[in-house]
């Protein structure tokens, strides 16, 4: 792959080669902070030049070190949009070389396989779908690439514990910035008081117990309940749940609370509750949180 392409699109696998001997100075870290801050303020500046791959990796590490799902989502969306704009101006050959890494099924007529499409974007029903292909056209392919890159930017497989201390420190300096772009109209009421959460609290049958426990812990954490109270509530919940073939143990309840309290950025997803059969339409229609719903 041409070197100028990997410089312009440092998310490509070929760009990783240049990461091997890349060192990071305090100045590099400062520049990364500036870029991440710009992305969070919706004015993304893409890494450029010979160190683009290193800078891209550093930016992502910094965002993950923030441990804030809203910040991660905004960074991913803004960065993906900026790369998509750049891609839209590429010549055909370069465009397809980059695109095929993210969308392996992309054909010369700009169609992609149905599975490639749904892995990256929704609203398949609005597209022209035929015999396993989604006929996108170049404009549609750019849009899908943007979503594909956004999905990639949202994914981090490493362990937070292994993030270098300098990066974690740099992230802590960015933290005060986060409150400035959080949506002002987020639901302010008690999540724990929501009817679906109260119903879960009364116990759920086997198959729903794990998600039920997650939902309870998220709600308690979001409401500011101390960890001890959450542990006690979840223990009671475990008692009330259907026993099925195996009981939902206190240990599982504790693990859930520990996980959620260590990741305060995890939000309660109405969609997950619905898909797990933990909320129903009639209840949701009357829910106070409904008009704030984003998931």
């Amino acid at each position: 792959m041409a070197e100028d392409l990997t410089g312009r699109y440092p998310f490509l696998a070929a760009a990783r080669k240049s990461l091997r001997d890349a060192g990071v100075s305090a100045r590099d870290l400062d520049e990364a902070k500036t870029r991440v801050r710009a992305a969070l303020e919706r004015k993304p500046v893409l890494p450029a030049g010979g160190n683009a791959a290193r800078d891209y990796a550093l930016d992502r590490l910094l965002v993950f070190a923030l441990d804030d799902s809203l910040a991660l989502k905004r960074y991913a969306r803004e960065t993906a949009k900026a790369y998509a704009r750049r891609l839209a101006d590429e010549e055909d050959e370069g465009f397809k070389a980059v695109a095929r890494e993210l969308l392996p099924s992309l054909a010369d007529d700009y169609s992609v396989g149905v599975l490639d499409f749904i892995t990256n974007a929704g609203n398949l029903a609005g597209e022209d779908v035929s015999k396993g292909r989604v006929l996108l056209g170049r404009e549609g392919a750019v849009r899908l690439l943007r979503y594909a890159l956004e999905t990639r930017l949202l994914t981090y497989s490493g362990s937070r514990a292994k993030i270098p201390a300098e990066v974690t420190h740099a992230a802590s300096e960015l933290k005060p910035l986060l409150s400035a772009f959080k949506p002002a109209r987020l639901f302010k009421g008690s999540l724990y008081a929501l009817p679906c959460i109260q119903r879960i609290r009364a116990g759920v049958p086997e198959g729903k117990r794990y998600y039920g426990a997650m939902a309870l812990a998220i709600a308690l954490n979001a409401d500011g309940a101390p960890r001890e109270r959450a542990l006690a509530e979840l223990e009671d919940y475990a008692e009330r749940c259907g026993k099925g073939t195996d009981e939902f143990s206190k240990r599982e309840a504790h693990t859930t609370v520990d996980w959620i309290y260590k990741h305060p950025g995890i939000m309660l997803s109405c969609r997950t509750l619905e898909s797990q059969g933990l909320a129903n339409e009639a209840e949701c229609a009357k829910c106070a949180r409904r008009r704030f719903r984003r998931t």
Binding site: L115, L124, G126, D128, V129, K131, G132, V134, T245
Partner: protein, 371 residues
């Protein structure tokens, strides 16, 4: 015979059957989790089989009333808790168990609470539509990768066992369900010089766009067909008189070639949805660790086989019968019943009856026998 004795008898019947014949091994059988029911549908799960012999012996010895297997494959299928199994992927599964019939049907004598042919036919129609229109049609899966299976009771399951679907996450699976359910609207209202233009699918559109376009062409065929969707006689006649021009504009995606067509298109779109929209049980498709009826195992509530639907004229009340039709059993029925089985009408009177074994097992499974 007391209720417990009926249950014991059912178990004995199942044991006899499974001694003669066991279900075929599912693909990648050693990586699947199995669940079995001896009283309810799943009493016992996290079971795995390391060999075909172990699998066959389990059925012959334990004779479960219900047998399920995971749509997922795992590195350690018998490990627990679930995370310890190490999920490797999951087949795509769909479940239809609610017939799309008018509410009145269920209150009418036409609906048979023992086995209702009309309900079974309606569900099979939906499942076949899913396979033909969506899975092997729009989504392009090969026929070899798609299996349609009768659940052994009231519904049908569809399994897609292509390698490519295994890694799909819940969100991607939800997107397939959203497609099958259909869009809410396909017309764009584009502002243009203080007017709103209706833009939509074109002659080359495919998928739902294509379905809507084809339905629109059919609706525009005659004045009567247009009027059936609520268009006034005057408007319908005007379109009919300018047929060529109207169709040429529609082919280019111009859906307001005459003013005041929006309500008409909404009605046509609703009809398109009625014809094409399907609603399988979302939880089955979205659950990445689902246990689902093992194909060609027996169903404890009917004694029917969860038979693979291979032929076009598959009839569960004939082709899924596992027990003998010639051998008879003396049974004591709680009340009088009449139902269809193996192309015959079975009339059961309250009290003692002599019934074909298959019918006796069905009534035992349904809990309709006493003594």
């Amino acid at each position: 015979m007391c209720a417990e004795a009926v249950q014991t008898d059912l178990k004995r019947k199942f044991a006899e059957y499974y001694t003669r014949k066991q279900p075929p091994l599912p693909p990648d059988y050693a990586q699947r989790e199995y669940g079995f029911g001896f009283e309810k549908k799943i009493d016992y799960r996290h079971k795995a089989f390391g060999s075909a012999r172990e699998f066959a012996e389990y059925f012959a010895v334990q004779a479960p009333l219900y047998a399920s297997y995971s749509t997922a494959v795992y590195r350690y299928p018998d490990a627990r808790p679930m995370e310890a199994k190490e999920w490797l992927g999951a087949d795509l599964a769909f479940d239809f168990d609610v017939p799309r019939l008018p509410k009145e049907h269920f209150a009418s004598p036409e609906h048979n609470p023992i086995v209702c042919r009309k309900c079974l036919d309606a569900i099979l129609k939906d499942a076949r539509q899913l396979v033909e229109e969506y899975l092997t049609g729009d989504f392009g899966f090969s026929k070899q990768d798609v299996t349609l299976v009768y659940s052994g009771s009231k519904g049908y399951h569809v399994h897609v066992r292509a390698q490519a679907v295994r890694a799909l996450g819940q969100e991607a699976r939800r997107r397939l369900l959203d497609y099958i359910k259909g869009p809410k609207d396909l017309l764009e209202r584009v502002p243009d010089n203080r007017k709103i233009m209706l833009r939509g699918p074109t002659a080359s559109s495919a998928g739902w766009n294509g379905k809507f376009y084809s339905r629109a062409l059919a609706a525009l065929e005659t004045v009567e067909s247009m009027r059936a969707f609520g268009l006034s006689k005057a408007k319908a006649e005007r379109i009919n008189n300018e047929r060529e021009r109207s169709l040429a504009l529609l082919a280019k995606g111009n859906w307001d070639f005459q003013p005041g067509l929006e309500k008409f298109w909404v009605a046509v779109f609703e009809e398109t949805r009625r014809e094409h929209s399907l609603e399988p049980d979302a939880q089955v498709t979205l659950d990445l660790a689902r246990l689902i009826r093992l194909p060609d195992s027996l169903h404890g509530s009917t004694g029917f086989l969860a038979a693979t639907v291979a032929k076009p004229n598959f009839d569960p009340l004939r082709d899924a019968i596992a027990f003998s039709w010639r051998r008879t059993e003396r049974v004591n029925a709680k009340e009088a019943f009449c139902f269809e089985l193996a192309n015959e009408t079975i009339e059961v009177k309250q009290g003692e009856n002599e019934l074909p074994e298959a019918a006796a097992v069905l009534l035992a499974g349904k809990g309709k026998l006493v003594n």
